[in-house]
């Protein structure tokens, strides 16, 4: 799906599905799209997403022509899709002479849970699995996450994961309803993650 590339994607280097205490996490497949749309088209979810989705066909078009299928995992609880998470391999910044060593060493993660299932720690459980995929599965050295500063639920997940708030971009992001607002960047290094007690 999406832009085909001869390179092996990060998802292809991992084994699926991933199971946590309560959840099953696996790469998204076309039959998941209606469930994902049903979650993402809710106004309270769209509040913090990069775009509102209102039309199903337009949503399918966007998701099948971008890199979404290479970067999105669905989260199942008892066989039902209750959210989606993303995991994208990125290149760390490097001076030109060492750029090859920085390629794909960083992960960017995000999460979203159906409001009907909020308050049960599902996002935290899924995101914790993402960290394991990044650090253990893909050997990454640093994982980042970003959110609107007012998205307190997401900030709380970062905190529970042990991610450090590293930056706050003052009025850097334009929100469709709230105008220019702050953004927060959080990160965690592999060494730090390995030192977090279970």
């Amino acid at each position: 799906m999406g832009e085909s590339s001869s390179e092996v994607t990060p998802f292809q280097r991992l084994s699926w599905p991933v199971r946590t205490d309560r959840l099953l996490i696996r790469p998204i497949e076309p039959p998941d799209l209606p469930a994902i749309f049903a979650i993402r088209s809710q106004a309270e979810v769209a509040m913090w997403l990069s775009g509102t989705v209102t039309d199903y066909d337009a949503f399918v078009e966007e998701w099948t022509t971008s890199d979404r299928f290479d970067t999105t995992l669905v989260v199942e609880l008892g066989g039902k899709v209750v959210g989606d998470v993303f995991l994208r391999a990125t290149d760390a910044w490097s001076q030109r002479e060492t750029r090859d060593q920085a390629r794909g060493t960083q992960g960017d993660i995000g999460w979203l849970v159906d409001p009907a299932y909020a308050g049960q720690g599902i996002a935290t459980e899924a995101a914790r699995a993402l960290l394991a995929l990044c650090f253990d599965g893909l050997g990454m050295r640093r994982v980042t996450a970003a959110a609107f500063a007012d998205n307190t639920a997401s900030l709380r997940v970062m905190e529970k994961l042990g991610m450090r708030e590293e930056g706050r971009g003052v009025r850097e992001a334009l929100h469709r309803d709230r105008g220019w607002v702050d953004g927060v960047n959080a990160a965690l290094l592999a060494d730090e993650w390995r030192s977090i007690p279970d």
Partner: protein, 186 residues
């Protein structure tokens, strides 16, 4: 092109700033190829031809030269970008932000030339280009650059642990400073 919309050159008390042109490039290379300069720069060029090739027209379009009585003593970086925005309001954020940077010959350090040049660069961004937010990035250990940011009134927004790979120092912290037009005007 960003610079075409403005009138040139810009003069400050002691300096002239203008878009880089081909005849300026050997002088810029002579500065950037020095080891002590390259320490904190994105690359350490050793061959003029190779540097020019990688710089390309895009690199030249983002470069201003700092001219001191006819001598190029450094360069400025200016890259206007779209602000981050949700899809529905993307147009409003078009060209709303700029990243700035600077590089001065070690032979001319200690006279406040960078501050003088970048103060004008900031004014140009806010007053002439209509940018609403300026960003500058540096290695956390590049203290002189951080001082410049502070003198410009920029505010430290983040320190990113072990995020950047340095050719000699390995993985090191990066720092981001920013300034909003509203704060600059106030």
């Amino acid at each position: 092109m960003t610079f075409d919309r403005l009138s040139w050159p810009r003069r400050t008390e002691r300096l002239t700033l203008r878009p880089a042109e081909t005849p300026d490039l050997p002088a810029v290379f002579a500065i950037r190829s020095r080891k002590e300069v390259a320490e904190w720069m994105p690359n350490h060029p050793t061959s003029y031809d190779e540097w020019l090739l990688k710089l390309g027209p895009v690199g030249v379009d983002r470069m201003l030269v700092i001219d001191l009585y006819g001598v190029v003593i450094g360069d400025l970086y200016l890259h206007v970008v779209d602000g981050w925005a949700q899809a529905e309001v993307k147009e409003v954020a078009t060209r709303a932000q700029a990243e700035i940077g600077w590089c001065l010959s070690p032979d001319h350090q200690g006279h406040g030339y960078v501050t003088e040049a970048t103060t004008e660069l900031v004014r140009l961004c806010f007053e002439d280009l209509g940018v609403r937010r300026l960003v500058a990035n540096a290695f956390a250990d590049n203290v002189p650059s951080l001082r410049v940011m502070e003198r410009l009134g920029m505010v430290c927004e983040g320190r990113f642990r072990s995020e950047s790979l340095h050719r000699d120092h390995g993985w090191v912290d990066g720092i981001t400073y920013a300034l909003l037009r509203a704060d600059w005007e106030g």
